[in-house]
């Protein structure tokens, strides 16, 4: 039986991060993954990530994956792909299917980083072809270049549902509705707003009654639900669709840990069946660690930090460093993880009704119910100000762990401060030069440049734009409001795409001055 100091199951962000830390300290490390490509979920994420500059904010997910792979390679990690781990026995014997044979390996330590699987919900017709998971839609689009359908209804308003809806739009699908049984949008407001402004209607407190069709999905009926999630008769709505996408949560894939005899618990806050473990991933079995979504559904940003922690804890367990060195190494990571777990969406705030931001500003009710901040609500947030000449408008209205906008501005116009979840505010007395770096760096596509006095009677508005084909200068079309409905005519006066923008294009449109604070998207006429 081949031996390793450390065997890691899963080459996602957490598994790879763990491998890097362990291999750097001299542990002979191998990572098994059942996929043909490493990177786990990261390679499906084409959007820019939230977080802090130190932890890869504003970098697109798949690029983070590439960086991580390079780091693993340099540290001398062995990654074995197409290798399905089918069993974990006591004494850390790992059974792996590779090709047409079954292999046994022995690790002195084992880290399980197998991630999560998608949840399903049932309704009449849920087994029809055309009902797919949001993760499946993402895999089709972003890994295989296949369009999942033409007309899509999305169920689920968490970050996954919102992000995948936007990607479906980018891929050329029509998203006819975004539906959720909960009364409030579950994901980040900025993700919701960028979907809503393209014209996708949100139906909160609604769910699917049935999928229609004989051989495959041809339509769907939704209806409103009451506070006990019972359908309200007479509220049914029908949509013609060929695809129904389900983004209704993830469950940790923790079976290997259970079979090895780890103490398990059913913890709804962490997404289901998870191993009992401490903050560095140590389970009830000595030498067996966990990291990432398998120990509780969170995010890639936190999965990477958890992975590093487990890698360091494994190195200490095997005597590659003493406790003092471990504590030193873990202190920074502790702080980073703590930073990510702050704000309105922090695990500790799940299920709570939050009425005001940390700054004491009432949250936008419209954002939670319809996916966009209403025109009459937007002015109360510190990122939204009026000034002479061009200036940034940050429509970022919830306390989320994110701050790349602050560092992006060479003129220091944007202030978040040391508390990463604070709302971005316009720095008083600063002078914007209209370079657009803030617009392109905003992971939430929530920053706009507005010049209310661009021309006699006209304002100019610069928006982030990630759709193809790009409009051309001179072209006329419709300016859409935050709710996605037409507000006025718009003319494109600038299209800017430079490498520093990392594929976020900046469109500048000219609109009548009175619409300067309302026009937020552009649609070809």
């Amino acid at each position: 039986m081949k031996r390793y100091d450390l065997i890691i199951v899963g080459a996602g962000p957490s598994g790879l991060s763990a491998a890097v830390e362990a291999a750097k300290r001299g542990l002979k490390t191998v990572v098994f993954d059942e996929n043909e490509k490493p990177g786990g979920q990261l390679f499906k994420q084409i959007h820019k990530f939230f977080g802090s500059k130190e932890h890869k904010a504003k970098i697109r997910g798949f690029v983070i994956g590439e960086q991580l792979l390079k780091e693993a390679d340099e540290a001398g990690v062995e990654v074995v792909l197409n290798a399905t781990v089918i069993g974990l026995y006591q004494d850390k014997e790992v059974v792996v299917r590779i090709g047409e044979a079954v292999h046994h390996y022995k690790g002195d330590a084992v880290i399980i980083a197998t991630g999560a699987s998608e949840n399903m919900v049932t309704f009449e017709g849920w087994t029809l072809p055309g009902v797919i998971g949001a993760g499946a839609a993402q895999t089709m689009m972003n890994l295989h270049g296949v369009k999942p359908g033409n007309k899509v209804l999305m169920l689920g308003s968490g970050n996954v549902g919102l992000v995948v809806s936007f990607q479906l739009l980018q891929c050329g699908c029509e998203v006819v509705a975004l539906v959720d049984a909960a009364p409030k949008v579950g994901g980040y407001g900025v993700h919701a707003a960028k979907v809503a402004r393209t014209g996708v209607p949100f139906y909160l407190s609604h769910t699917i009654v049935k999928a229609e069709g004989e051989e495959c999905v041809t339509g769907v009926t939704i209806a409103e639900v009451d506070s006990h999630f019972r359908f309200i008769p007479g509220t049914e709505k029908h949509f013609d669709v060929d695809t129904i996408c389900l983004a209704v949560g993830l469950s940790p894939m923790s079976q290997l840990l259970k079979m090895a005899g780890c103490e398990m618990e059913d913890n709804p806050k962490r997404g289901g069946q998870v191993p009992v473990c401490d903050e560095y991933g140590r389970t009830s079995l000595a030498g067996v660690f966990v990291a990432g979504d398998v120990s509780g559904i969170e995010e890639a940003s936190s999965a990477m930090i958890e992975g590093r922690m487990a890698g360091i804890a494994a190195a200490e367990y095997l005597g590659y460093m003493d406790k003092e060195e471990m504590d030193r190494n873990l202190a920074d990571l502790d702080q980073a993880l703590d930073g990510l777990r702050q704000g309105m969406f922090a695990p500790k705030n799940r299920g709570k009704d939050i009425e005001t931001t940390d700054e004491g500003i009432p949250v936008s009710k419209n954002l939670l119910k319809h996916g966009f901040v209403a025109d009459e609500e937007i002015e109360r947030f510190p990122g939204v100000t009026h000034a002479k000449g061009i200036h940034p408008v940050m429509e970022c209205t919830q306390n989320i762990p994110c701050n790349p906008c602050q560092d992006a501005c060479p003129k220091h116009c944007i202030r978040i401060g040391s508390n990463i979840t604070a709302l971005p505010a316009v720095e008083e007395g600063s002078e914007c030069v209209g370079c657009g770096m803030c617009v392109a760096s905003c992971s939430g596509q929530a920053i706009f440049l507005v010049d209310e006095t661009y021309e006699e009677g006209y304002a100019s508005i610069t928006i982030p734009y990630e759709f193809l084909p790009l409009p051309v200068v001179g072209e006329k079309g419709d300016a859409l409001g935050r709710d996605g409905s037409r507000v006025c005519e718009a003319q494109i006066i600038g299209v800017k795409s430079i490498p520093a923008f990392d594929k976020t294009n900046l469109l500048t449109m000219k609109v009548p001055a009175e619409y300067a604070m309302r026009a937020r998207f552009y649609k070809k006429g």
């Binding site: 026995y89 699987s117 259970k258």
Partner: protein, 109 residues
């Protein structure tokens, strides 16, 4: 757990519902009605349901239906899903052909 293992507990009679013919475990084609009936036949734990009906024993190994079955059984027993112990996890974790399972790899050292 004790409450669940108490087979003398009265859970009432099986009441047919309009969505009883909805498939829950797609791999083994088991309906919601069959699962609900199994509970009334005395199968109170997920392991029993699994052995009785083969839910979660098909190609996807319960990846899709495990949570759904758990919810249905819990509702039938009038308890919270968290009170039900999930079915045992066993090797192999993923479906695997017998000829592969029987083919022990030769270590290259």
């Amino acid at each position: 757990m004790n409450q669940i293992n108490d087979r003398s507990r009265d859970i009432g009679a099986f009441v047919p519902a309009p969505d009883d013919d909805m498939i829950i475990c797609r791999c083994e084609e088991i309906t919601k009605g069959e699962i609900r009936k199994a509970v009334h036949d005395g199968m109170f734990t997920l392991t029993e349901i699994r052995r009785y009906l083969r839910t979660g024993m098909g190609l996807c190994q319960g990846q899709t239906c495990a949570k759904l079955v758990k919810g249905i059984v819990a509702r039938e027993l009038n308890i919270s899903p968290a009170q039900l112990e999930p079915a045992t996890s066993r090797v192999p974790m993923r479906p695997i052909e017998m000829h592969v399972l029987a083919n022990e790899g030769k270590e290259d050292e």
